[in-house]
């Protein structure tokens, strides 16, 4: 490792502002790897904020990446809506059965308060703990499920598609509730110390919904949510392709857009020099089977493609690296960036 002259915060902020920095910033979006570091189960790990704070600090020390994760798993948001979280031993917690059972139910639904729920409080405590440890030297990532994507877990994907296409009144009602809820949850994280909020919105990808329907129904929802948010925000398509809606999303003024392995980062960056920075786009799932040499080569290829363009933060393409990605590959990413991601050494 070479001696860094900038803090991670300087590096990320500088990159967003298109200033010269020492190297390409990278974020490893490691969540449950913290449980591996501490040698405990994922369920136990998430039960106590102290564990997650410790885990995040250890991971950042080990890989020297440029942010820590304050928000760690999104299934917890279902608790606010009366649903359950299902834990597994080797993957991210998932949402159980969707709490909204039929379209009718939406009419009597209210936007939940979450102050009394431990999982929300834990997330805020994690963010505050990380802030206390790192101060302003390290970006702390907060996150929400975007109001337009949240219904996939609130009611199931099949029912949600039907809602969008066939039940305009209930769709509108649910969006009102979700806008209020998501912006409130985002602001609570910002207040606790999150540097920016990642709005996970795969339904803004044309893989999931055609662009015209997104523009008609999803875009205004995102716009209103962001208007209500106090802090900085990014949009992440959670590995859905971004190419067709990238310029639309740029109009929402996020600081960063997270794109998929199927997108061409270079072309996107060149398509609009006023567009936000791009986060991406290594395939987390394929990273499980890569060798460290392959990993390194893929990182090198990506860097040589986009490094000179700036406005780029290297990361996986989903916003969370899978449990089975081995340490050797994560170290390979870190070392390759240290070697090939510097701006003044080549």
């Amino acid at each position: 490792m070479k001696q860094d002259t900038l803090t991670s915060m300087d590096r990320i902020v500088g990159t967003l502002q298109q200033k010269e920095v020492d190297r390409v910033p990278f974020i490893l979006t490691l969540t449950h790897h913290g449980a591996i570091e501490l040698g405990i189960s994922i369920e136990d790990y998430y039960k106590s904020p102290e564990n997650v704070i410790k885990g995040q600090i250890l991971l950042q020390e080990k890989y020297q990446d440029d942010a820590v994760m304050g928000a760690n798993f999104f299934a917890m948001e279902i608790e606010g809506w009366g649903g359950d979280v299902v834990y597994t031993k080797d993957g991210p917690p998932n949402t159980g059965r969707p709490p909204i059972r039929d379209f009718e139910m939406i009419n009597s639904l209210e936007s939940p308060s979450f102050d009394h729920l431990p999982s929300y409080q834990n997330t805020l405590d994690i963010i505050a703990g990380l802030k206390e440890h790192f101060g302003s030297s390290m970006p702390i990532v907060g996150g929400v499920l975007a109001p337009f994507s949240l219904p996939v877990v609130q009611m199931g994907f099949d029912k949600y598609i039907e809602l969008i296409y066939e039940h305009p009144d209930e769709f509108k009602k649910l969006m009102e509730l979700n806008i209020e809820y998501s912006s409130k949850w985002a602001n609570a994280q910002t207040k606790a110390g999150a540097t920016f909020i990642v709005s996970f919105d795969p339904l803004a990808s044309s893989d999931m919904i055609p662009r015209d329907i997104f523009l008609d129904k999803g875009f205004p929802v995102a716009e209103r949510t962001f208007q209500k948010m106090d802090g900085m925000y990014t949009i992440h398509l959670a590995s859905g392709r971004a190419t067709k809606t990238f310029n639309d999303l740029a109009r929402l003024k996020p600081i960063v857009i997270g794109v998929s392995t199927s997108d061409n980062v270079k072309e996107l960056l060149l398509s609009d020099d006023k567009a936000p920075a791009i986060l991406g786009n290594l395939s987390g799932i394929n990273m499980v089977k890569w060798t460290p040499e392959q990993t390194s080569q893929i990182v090198k290829d990506l860097l040589s493609d986009v490094k000179s363009l700036g406005r780029f933060i290297l990361a996986d393409n989903h916003g969370e690296i899978p449990y089975y990605v081995p340490e050797s590959n994560l170290l390979a990413i870190s070392q390759t960036i240290d070697q090939y991601g510097r701006f003044n050494t080549e």
């Binding site: 299902v86 199931g156 099949d158 296409y165 999931m208 329907i213 199927s262 799932i285 394929n286 089975y324």
Partner: protein
């Protein structure tokens, strides 16, 4: 003639024109004497096109789903008229292993029924252990597994290994996002087959079970 009709049906489904979908199908059923294809072949071919365009990134998942839904609704309305020509009697089950993500399976069940298969249901969120018990009991010819999470996809390997120990001969076909993202994964977990979309699985099933197309 066939390709032209496929195109017409595809376009009607794409714009969600229920009446038009119904009429094209009814015409094809009434005209079956003079055609060298069946109405389910027509339906499946147009659904297949949705799947292929989705994999390429040219259309959205919601369009694939709504096209499937229109098919189902139309078939339900005209059901006395619509009967698949080939009805298969093989014992086939579908399941969502460990996950709670049912959309992939729902799309799969729907198209396989249209294709004339009798599909039984092992539900969702089921563990490897519970699934093994059921397989021992029912001994089906084929099991189709859908998963969305990577760790659930990897669990197929445990299932297949246990099935071998128990000398269960059920063939296993897998699908879902992790298998689409890592194209080697289906082989690595020891499945007998894989398809990138629900409709594509029909060919794989026929090949694995030695059924004529």
């Amino acid at each position: 003639m066939f390709q032209e009709l496929v195109e017409k049906l595809f376009n009607a489904m794409l714009v969600l024109d229920y009446e038009n979908v119904k009429n094209i199908l009814l015409d094809s059923i009434n005209n079956s004497e003079n055609q060298d294809f069946t109405s389910e072949e027509l339906l499946i071919e147009s659904q297949k096109k949705f799947g292929e365009l989705w994999v390429q990134g040219d259309i959205a998942l919601s369009q694939v789903y709504m096209a499937g839904k229109i098919c189902e609704d139309v078939i339900e309305e005209i059901s006395p008229n619509f009967k698949p020509k080939n009805l298969y009697s093989e014992k086939i089950y579908t399941v969502v292993l460990e996950d709670f993500h049912i959309l992939g399976k729902k799309m799969l069940d729907s198209i396989l029924r249209i294709a004339g298969f009798k599909i039984s249901d092992y539900g969702f969120g089921i563990s490897v252990e519970a699934l093994l018990e059921k397989l021992k009991q029912d001994n089906p010819q084929l099991l189709l597994i859908s998963t969305l999470m990577l760790n659930s996809a990897l669990r197929v390997k445990v299932l297949v290994d246990e099935m071998k120990k128990l000398k269960l001969r059920t063939k296993v076909i897998v699908g879902g996002a992790p298998f689409n993202i890592d194209s080697d994964l289906w082989k690595n977990v020891g499945a007998d087959g894989y398809a990138p979309t629900a409709t594509k699985s029909i060919e794989v099933i026929k090949q694995l079970l030695g059924l004529q197309s």
